[in-house]
């Protein structure tokens, strides 16, 4: 008997797949399709990376690693924070994950009680709210628009925060808009979360170089002021590369 869990009613498929399927069909008929629906970079994986992976496979490095990742990779990430951002994040606090989505799975598994409510922006990346729902959390939408550059503000946060709210999830850059939060904006949101004793996971799929110093400040300040650091920083998306790649810097120019 087909009887899926009730949560499945709240988890939607990607509607764009219908268009993708049609696009492929048109291509097979010889039409030239320009793909601007694809939400992933077109660049190939850098050769140094593919070579390293192939070498690992050929030399039998294909067994389990530690659950939080290869110690040397966690060290490399820690060194990257130090060198690029001038901030000390010990390797012990870094978890290597199956993409940023894997990290978000772990974060919500760790923080979301059944029925707990979490604030997310609408529009937003649908998987964020669906992952939350899969762990029996309840997404609460904050409708956002051009007035706030499609990001939440302290005013919106106070307006939507209820006694039952557990936390806020922010994304910078946000999908589908590509908008960023400044350090001041992030701090102001964090202040409200602290005041409400809420959690504050951030999805920073991609970053930007201009954020470097600010990011440094942010991490430093948070370490100083937040005793138990409610901040989970989910980094780098599904792509170590893209994180730097698409986003670390130049895209900052205000239009």
């Amino acid at each position: 008997m087909y009887r899926p869990a009730a949560r499945l009613a709240d988890i939607e498929p990607f509607h764009v797949v219908e268009l993708l399927t049609r696009a492929r069909q048109l291509e097979s008929e010889g039409r030239d399709i320009i793909h601007m629906e694809v939400g992933e970079p077109d660049f190939p994986t850098p050769e140094l990376i593919t070579n390293a992976a192939v070498n690992a496979i050929n030399s039998g490095k294909t067994k389990y690693t530690q659950a939080l990742g290869l110690p040397e990779l966690r060290e490399a990430i820690s060194a990257f924070y130090r060198e690029r951002y001038g901030v000390s994040v010990p390797a012990s606090r870094i978890a290597v994950t199956n993409g940023a989505s894997g990290a978000l799975n772990l974060a919500f598994a760790c923080l979301a009680d059944p029925g707990s409510e979490w604030l997310l922006t609408d529009p937003g990346y649908p998987c964020n709210r669906h992952i939350l729902r899969a762990f029996d959390g309840r997404p609460q939408n904050i409708p956002v628009g051009p007035e706030t550059n499609f990001q939440p503000t302290p005013e919106l946060l106070r307006q939507h925060w209820k006694a039952t709210t557990s936390g806020l999830l922010v994304a910078s850059p946000a999908n589908p808009t590509g908008t960023l939060l400044t350090l001041a904006e992030i701090e102001a949101l964090a202040d409200v979360c602290r005041e409400k004793n809420g959690h504050y996971p951030g999805r920073r799929d991609l970053s930007r170089a201009d954020l470097r110093n600010r990011c440094t400040d942010r991490l430093r300040r948070r370490r100083r002021y937040l005793g138990h650091q409610q901040l989970f920083e989910v980094l780098s998306d599904d792509r170590l590369a893209t994180w730097l790649d698409g986003h670390s810097g130049g895209l900052r120019t205000r239009r």
Partner: protein, 150 residues
Amino acid sequence: MTGWRLGWMVIPEAYVRDVEKLAQNLTLCPSTPAQYGALAAFEPETIALLESRRAEFRRRRDFLAPALEGIGFRITARPEGAFYLYCDSSALAEDSFTLAKDLLEKTGVAATPGLDFGSNEPEKHIRFAYTTGVDRLAEAVERLSRYFGR
């Protein structure tokens, strides 16, 4: 390198043990070959290459945004990261899902309607990703201009 499925998370100190327990039970570990590949992602040579790709994304955005606005799409968000433009298409079409289908059929340009991103006026929005070279983006702009008679 999206298909490698690798990212990371910075965990608050107090939660490290909890996340480790969860990771042990939910995934055991991230893909091992992918992790060895990722070690090379932090080499200066790789980082220099990635920086040049970031610059290319900026170039594409700076080309595409004004071009789409010239056609009649409104870009009300300031796109400063990632690789897409979320456009208000309400001056051009009533429903962006139908618009996306029409654009695909009649111009061969595939874009993502707002429907996938929530319930806040999705019918008024469409997302164009600049995940293809400037020459192809220019071709898309030309086709769209013709389609809307601009």
